[in-house]
């Protein structure tokens, strides 16, 4: 069985806020849910599947209750928690559920306020006694990946900087972007070193906010008014040090999730017109582009340099909303916004300055957890129908 073409993204909404001290987290979930339902042209009572992750206050059932979802209709729920890529996995799982007839209109929400206040610590696993004392954070865990990638492949800080430069070129056209200023390679290199070799501008923004989507059947999608966007391939995977054997931090679980998604979709990286690539840090983008097959392992530095990721300039327009590096990384989780901008591109609703011409095939890919420690990855291939 395949999910190819069995599920459509009929509604999307990205909260315009980047700082929400005046709202509750549950309220933000409700606001993005309302936005996505209205974008689809549906009502709350149409929802019969609900998906949320660790950012939902109290988890799944408290959110179902708070949102007032119709529990006589709600017949499929999923609280898969894989950090920032949870929502990419939710999209795949929603498609599976729809293909199996377990639900017909699925709502997926993400929201939270890390900019207003600190987030609760991540629960630790069996490794706790053997790792917590060493102070792994997002910054230094990704720093360790970048350090080894530079050592093994000669990747440079200048090449990584090009990823931020490209994101900033796109963010200037997004009125909601947290950072709208176009920056140069020199700006990135001159920004303070946070955790070697990553500078401040190699890091994504910290934002309050959220996003939501509606995933539905082909029949229901076709009865609505929005341009048709469907999921044609999905992959998921996980990677960790696994007992410490053959440790290699220069690749991510995308080496497994990517081929699974491309195979199901029946397309190759060369066919992709637009790429939403998880950008918690510049190194995240570079490694994932290699892992997904947009270039060979080790050649990501050359691939991203000289504006190759800038829409209208380079060969692979990426994160045309400004991405996590410049626009929005709500709840420290970039998976939802990756899907939302891919859908905008396929609908032809991206900003005219960054809209990719004849954009009929896109990828949305992300990781969750810590790339240098333990993480999951998910790849979605989306098509304009």
């Amino acid at each position: 069985m395949t999910i190819k073409g069995k599920a459509y993204i009929a509604g999307i909404y990205e909260h315009p806020t980047r700082h929400a001290p005046d709202k509750s987290t549950a309220q933000l979930h409700a606001e993005v849910a309302k936005g996505a339902i209205e974008d689809a042209g549906l009502t709350k009572d149409d929802i019969d599947g609900y998906f949320c992750a660790g950012d939902a206050p109290g988890g799944l059932w408290p959110m179902v209750d708070y949102l007032g979802l119709n529990t006589k209709k709600l017949r499929h729920v999923d609280s898969t928690e894989t950090g920032g890529c949870s929502y990419l996995i939710h999209l795949g799982h929603a498609a599976e559920a729809i293909a199996a007839g377990k639900c017909s209109v699925a709502l997926v929400t993400l929201a939270g306020k890390p900019r207003t206040g600190p987030m609760p610590p991540r629960a630790s696993g069996a490794e706790a006694d053997f790792e917590l004392a060493y102070g792994a954070t997002t910054h230094n865990a990704y720093g360790m990946c970048a350090m080894r990638h530079m050592h093994d492949y000669g990747t440079t800080s200048e090449q990584l900087a090009w990823i931020k430069v490209a994101a900033s070129h796109h963010a200037q056209y997004n009125p909601h972007a947290m950072l709208k200023e176009v920056v140069t390679v020199e700006d990135v290199l001159n920004s303070p070193m946070i955790s070697d070799p990553l500078h401040r501008m190699d890091c994504c923004v910290v934002t309050d906010g959220g996003g939501a989507m509606i995933v539905t059947t082909p029949e229901i999608a076709k009865s609505l008014k929005k341009p048709l966007v469907r999921l044609i391939g999905h992959g998921e995977a996980a990677k960790g040090p696994r007992g410490g054997k053959d440790l290699d931090l220069t690749y991510s679980a995308g080496v497994w999730s990517g081929p699974r998604a491309f195979e199901e979709a029946g397309v190759t990286p060369k066919d992709i017109k637009y790429a939403s690539i998880y950008d918690s840090f510049t190194i995240t983008v570079l490694m994932q582009l290699e892992d997904l097959g947009f270039c060979k392992k080790g050649e990501g530095g050359k691939f991203v340099a000289d504006g190759n990721l800038i829409s209208g300039v380079g060969k692979l327009p990426f994160n045309t909303d400004g991405g996590g590096l410049c626009s929005n990384h709500p709840v420290n989780r970039g998976g939802m916004t990756k899907i939302l901008e891919a859908v905008r591109q396929l609908r032809g609703e991206a900003h005219p300055k960054v809209q990719v011409k004849n954009c009929d095939l896109a990828i949305a890919h992300g990781t969750g957890g810590l790339l240098g420690v333990r993480h999951a990855a998910s790849t979605c291939i989306l098509e304009r129908a």
Binding site: D129, G135, T137, A141, G143, M147, I194, S195, D196, G244
Partner: protein
């Protein structure tokens, strides 16, 4: 500096208690599977490679090389160097490089285990050999 940090005592559990008992005697233990022969870290009862339950404790030389590192400069307790080091016996593990000029840490550098006290068992760190 990381040397001045206070570290929480390991919680320990029945699966890992022998590691921490050995640590109190200054011994750095890894696990080896007698079925497939592979060593692993952190210690598990069941081999993560072949899933055999025939795993035994083995004292590591504590000698390792730096696989990668990152010098975290923005920390309320001061800069520290997180790293993965690869033990002579094979397994790689997460740690901090301590008791040295952190600016001199390099990939490929030889390091050795050093213990830092807690209110319970000490914790293993690595320092230039």
């Amino acid at each position: 500096m990381s040397e001045a940090k206070k570290y929480n005592a390991p919680v320990t559990n029945p699966e890992t208690a022998p590691f921490w008992e050995a640590a109190k005697a200054g011994k750095f233990m890894i696990k080896r599977c007698t079925t497939c022969g592979e060593a692993h870290y952190f210690p598990r009862a069941i081999c993560p490679f072949c899933f055999s339950d025939k795993t035994v404790w083995e004292e590591s030389s504590g000698e390792a090389t730096v696989y990668t590192y990152s010098l975290m400069r923005k920390s309320p307790t001061g800069p520290y160097a997180i790293a993965y080091v690869t033990l002579k016996e094979g397994p790689s593990l997460q740690t901090n490089i301590v008791d040295c000029d952190l600016e001199t840490v390099k990939i490929g550098q030889k390091v050795k285990v050093v213990w830092k006290p807690t209110d319970g068992a000490p914790l293993p760190f690595f320092t230039p050999a």
